[in-house]
Symmetry: C2
Subunit: 500 residues, 2 copies
């Protein structure tokens, strides 16, 4: 097709079409948010079918051949500006990819995921991986097919990694983990030789309502815009958004655990600040979205760990905290408090892991997925592999499947290739945090003496948020820090923090 329309007219047609797809996807996200926060229990059946219908509608709108023609035509025209060009490039990539899948394959995958998710729930209830084995094997089989359909070079897992971190490959991530593995183990040994840290005071009784208010206070302090978002309660904390002007975070509250609510709130605020800073003018278009999952996670971890578990932040905010929860923190000083909230402790569960041992959890999953997708490990051998790796790498004995290979939901959702982005996020976070300090010399002092993180947020807005998906992770990292991902910075950051 060679359209008689001008490039501007064609581009308008393209963006209108994409924005309609986005409208439906965001509507879907509203329904999911509602499901996790306010849905009455009997409403779940109708909600499931409403979500399925919206997904189908969005799929049908996006795979419309007319859109394909417009994309092809626009990709051949040369008068677009860089943002427009990037939008067309990314949309065409998505379009071409989605068009490779037959309706039959999509249905098969969707059914396999639904079956696997329920099997995973049951397997956890019965604490028995065998219950999950068959459905998971089906998923793995389909993910292998998916890699074949998409196409790949060198390793089929590359095709899947790309879904979460555009441009990431097995050889790249192998190298990242290779570089960090030994220094991380050395650091762990050093930490373990230090005196034990007391963190017991974090598990006193902290009333629900007070925690709720404190969480909202902290979100405000960090710059979360409550005019362009909200906070609610859900079983698992998450962030979702329906535009950059409507970003919603959730939290959960355990009355016997101050840390759970506080740092999961800061983590979600980190995600949310990114979403609130994405370019609103690119609503519904690729460039209006986050750069990659790794970059998204870098934002949550920068705020949660670099800022929110840092001494400078608490040098200012610890006294107000003591007042907020009278009697709970009187017997500790700010140094003890910060050591407690950074306590390192090899453990079984990834989501409860400290900032250091966390990455061993990720490495095990990454290697395991690679072997599964490469056909070098069978699903039935997962528990044995898992338990052996946990013994070797983290030094803990896995007592049962629930505390072992059944702990994460990801595989039951068909998400293979996701886990590595958690580690990339941490490493990018440390690198960005270092760069912000170089670019803004008074940053730490300002946080320490005024409690305000505004300078940091402004720096992130300017250097990361405003670009959306205009650059891929590595390009963005180089633009901002002058080099690609350098995990040594993470190790140094961690050593400074953990060795006393």
């Amino acid at each position: 097709m060679t359209s008689a329309l001008s490039t501007a007219e064609l581009y308008t047609e393209y963006s209108n079409a994409l924005r309609q797809v986005a409208d439906v996807k965001y509507a879907n996200a509203v329904l999911q948010w509602d499901q996790e926060t306010y849905l009455p229990p009997k409403g779940i059946e109708a909600r499931s079918r409403q979500l399925a219908t919206l997904s189908e509608v969005a799929h049908n709108l996006f795979t419309n051949n007319k859109l394909g023609d417009i994309l092809t035509e626009l990709s051949n025209r040369k008068v677009l500006n860089p943002r427009e060009q990037k939008n067309i490039e990314l949309s065409l990539e998505d379009y071409s990819k989605i068009k490779k899948f037959s309706a039959a394959f999509v249905r098969q995958m969707s059914e396999a995921i639904s079956t696997a998710y329920h099997a995973w729930i049951n397997a956890r209830k019965q604490n028995n991986f065998k219950v999950f084995e068959g459905p998971l094997s089906k998923i793995v089989e389909l993910k292998k097919q998916e890699a074949d359909i998409i196409g790949y070079e060198v390793h089929p897992y590359n095709a899947l990694l790309n879904d979460y971190e555009r441009g990431a490959t097995v050889s790249y991530i192998d190298q990242v983990f290779e570089n960090i593995k030994v220094p991380l183990r050395q650091l762990l040994h050093q930490v373990e030789e230090q005196p034990a840290v007391d963190a017991g005071f974090l598990n006193q009784h902290f009333p629900r309502q007070q925690q709720w208010q404190y969480g909202q206070h902290i979100a405000k302090v960090l710059g979360f815009d409550f005019e362009a978002g909200r906070q609610d309660i859900s079983e698992h904390p998450f962030t979702t958004n329906f535009s950059s002007a409507d970003v919603r975070i959730t939290t959960r509250i355990d009355e016997n655990d101050f840390a759970n609510m506080t740092w999961s709130t800061i983590h979600e605020v980190g995600h949310a600040l990114y979403e609130q800073g994405l370019p609103a003018s690119e609503y519904g278009l690729p460039v209006g979205e986050y750069a990659s999952l790794g970059i998204h996670e870098s934002q949550s971890r920068l705020w949660e760990n670099c800022v929110g578990r840092g001494l400078p932040f608490w040098k200012y905010h610890f006294k107000p905290l003591q007042k907020f929860f009278p009697g709970k923190f009187n017997h500790v000083n700010v140094q003890q408090f910060v050591r407690a909230i950074n306590k390192v402790q090899p453990s079984l569960i990834r989501t409860e892991a400290d900032e250091l041992t966390y990455h061993f959890h990720v490495m095990i999953r990454y290697e395991l997925e690679k072997l599964l997708i490469g056909g070098e490990l069978s699903v039935k051998d997962i528990p044995a592999y898992w338990n052996e790796q946990y013994k070797n790498l983290i030094g803990v004995t896995v007592p049962d499947d629930k505390n072992g290979c059944l702990q994460d939901v990801h595989w039951s959702h068909g998400s293979f290739g996701y886990f590595a982005t958690y580690s990339l996020g941490s490493f990018y976070a440390a690198q960005l945090w270092q760069q912000a300090q170089l670019d803004e010399p008074g940053l730490i002092e300002t946080i320490e003496y005024t409690g305000s993180t505004e300078v940091l947020l402004r720096w992130l807005r300017k250097n990361i948020h405003v670009h959306g998906k205009l650059y891929d992770s590595e390009t963005l990292c180089k633009m901002v820090t002058g080099q690609g991902l350098n995990s040594t910075i993470f190790i140094n950051y961690l050593r400074d923090k953990l060795i006393f």
Copy 2:
């Protein structure tokens, strides 16, 4: 088209298609609910476009020619059961109607409504009907065209009435109001000759949180299923639903007005009990919906007025109420309380009107709309007509447009033909309430001595709710009460209540 498919197969295709439309419409309703309850202020812009897109998607799905072919084919087959037959009949009616409108007309109407709504907001701000006059004239013009496009007999307003109350006509509603006007005025005179009722104690200070809890308590008492619904706060109370297992009511709280929260909650609970009782197996199909707006309103008013402003209910619930709000109701007895909550007082605002004078407000609007659509009154003459009628019929002097012809949102939404259903609802309510007492001899005593309205709810479920839209209002009324709408029953009910 003569399809090779069996009737059962065709019917399945039909119901799948309709249910997809329903999924999208319910998703739209979730987004609207969210907009009224939890949307952060800056989220409104994206939300507006998301709603517009979902409406367009639902419209496109429903107007698909393939669905039209299926409907025509099914309407010619004779082996459907009565529910299936009714579904096809009603869907074909909707389909044929919607197909009469050109895309251009739909767009024109939608733009005119958007303009008129904003003009109405501004006109209210400036307290000046002139600001609204032009945009409203456009709406009236389009509504006349709409009547012509739909087609009608005798009066163009018939085509519009039918949108809200299937089968209703000008001659029918003229007759209903003709029958009630004089008895209602006589009753008003009688009431006005009685000693004045003191209702001042309803306007003490009732703390927000306590009102919120009391509202939820009352909703539970009346049988609202909180597993299949929720209550939230919004600026204007409303009921919405996303299936019969997810029905949501909202309330507002004025700390200086106990009545506002309480009876608006009971009113919405009445709507909600109906929705929770509709046949779940007919999800997304016409028979799964409410019979008509008149019948819907009969449910809200039956609970609000017949039950919730009745002496029997408060004979039981007044003592707990006194305890719930210590000191607020100590100086009144239950008779004084019930007189106060039924106080008659001619006034300017429809939504604040008592059960008696309310219908004068409706009659004025009904006559006015009839004249506008019939071309016998111009939009510019509305204020003069309005003020004259309020003087004549209700005996009040309208001080300005805001308290006069600018008070209702309906016209700015293009809703002409709606108001009459409010009155029909009240009249049906009284008739159903009388019939329930005849069918369930111990009903009043049970309410009086146990406070439970379960028998009534069961009666309504069996006689009204379960039928959905299988019968039109008048047929349903005849089936349940042995006669069509008889407004004398309403007058007698009101006399019993108001004359002491």
